[in-house]
Amino acid sequence: MKTDTTLPPRLEPALGALLYHGTILASAVIALGLALAVGLGAAGMRVAAFGIVLFILLPVLRVGAMLIFFLRAGEYKFGAIAALVMSIILLSFFLGAR
């Protein structure tokens, strides 16, 4: 298969690795929390809640990674688009909290 040579460092595999390892980490934290909850109750549940927060942040981190990549690669149009997506997400977080 021919590889795309227009972009020297390929972003796709890096994003794949981020999502893959992030999923493992978040799942492990949730599993740990649920296991602790059996013995400790509420304290374990707080650990599991942290794992859930990790899951929510994972796609946001992915947008952040794309933003940095596009800016570094000089693709300012896509950098601006990524920044817009990031601001909409953050806006949703802050407005939703109220």
Binding site: L15, I56, I81
Partner: protein
């Protein structure tokens, strides 16, 4: 804390995420009806947990598509402006729309999914896997459908493949493999935009969402491995029936009738 409920939630997420992987849809469309009808879980709690499941499925299954170069990340980030904006609006509407109406909308989306499954997706002329013209004149229609997909996703806690797939296949004329991979990639961000708001509001209960998340990751991984080749027409028709039945149940729930006695 009772281990029984957690195990049941884990099993539901595992099963629905495997189904989702097989059918190319997110698990949310099954999780919310099952939790509300069989688990007697509050609709908003079910939606919050389902959003976590959607994120987990999307993240867990994204890597292979990205490695194979099937995901069009530039198109994805462009369309995500519409889906996340839709999600932002959905978060607000969710607080205003009465629960019965949400059940009703959900029933309609289930019917739409059933219809889509009967019709099947067909490869439209044009477009090889590599060279993807964005067909700019159709972009406004694509963006509008994506906005709707984001809105429905935030409102009902589903991935909204039902709206994304016509947007990608018909409006943007993408090859099926590319549109599936790109849609899966976008679903996580869209769900995260609303899940963050739900979490801040306290609508995501850890005791419900945690076992669901674990089951979803496992289901998505297993589903992709085992079920890749299972595509018989009989199976499809069975799922169409399930979707129609769930839709009928949600419709009844919209009018305050629940036929199922609590199971777990």
């Amino acid at each position: 804390m009772h281990g029984g409920l957690e195990l049941w939630l884990f099993a539901v997420a595992l099963g629905t995420s495997m189904l989702g992987g097989l059918l190319g849809m997110a698990s949310g469309i099954f999780i919310v009806p099952v939790l509300t009808m069989f688990g007697r879980i509050d609709l908003h709690t079910a939606i919050g947990a389902s959003l976590i499941s959607v994120i987990a499925c999307s993240c867990a299954s994204a890597a292979p598509f990205l490695k194979d170069g099937l995901t069009n990340i530039r198109l994805a980030i462009l369309l995500e402006t519409a889906t996340t904006f839709g999600a932002l609006c959905g978060v607000f509407l969710a607080g205003l729309i009465p629960t019965q109406y949400l059940f009703f909308i959900f029933a309609l989306i289930l019917l739409l999914s059933a219809q889509q499954m009967v019709a099947r997706r067909k490869e439209l002329p044009r477009a090889s896997d590599r060279d993807i013209g964005y067909s700019a004149e159709r972009m406004p229609l694509g963006m509008t459908l994506m906005y709707g997909a984001g809105l429905i996703s935030a409102l009902l806690g589903i991935g909204s493949g039902v709206l994304k797939i016509p947007a990608m296949d018909t409006a943007l004329r993408l090859p099926i493999k590319v549109s599936s991979a790109t849609s899966n990639f976008m679903i996580g961000v869209t769900a995260a935009a609303s899940a963050g708001a739900y979490f801040a509001r306290g609508d995501i209960l850890t005791s419900v969402a945690a076992p669901i998340a674990l089951g979803s990751v496992l289901g998505a991984v297993l589903g992709a491995r085992i079920l890749m080749k299972l595509h018989s027409d009989k199976l499809r028709m069975m799922f169409v029936c399930i979707l129609v039945i769930l839709s009928a149940q949600m419709m009844l729930a919209a009018f305050g009738i629940n036929l199922v006695e609590r199971a777990p």
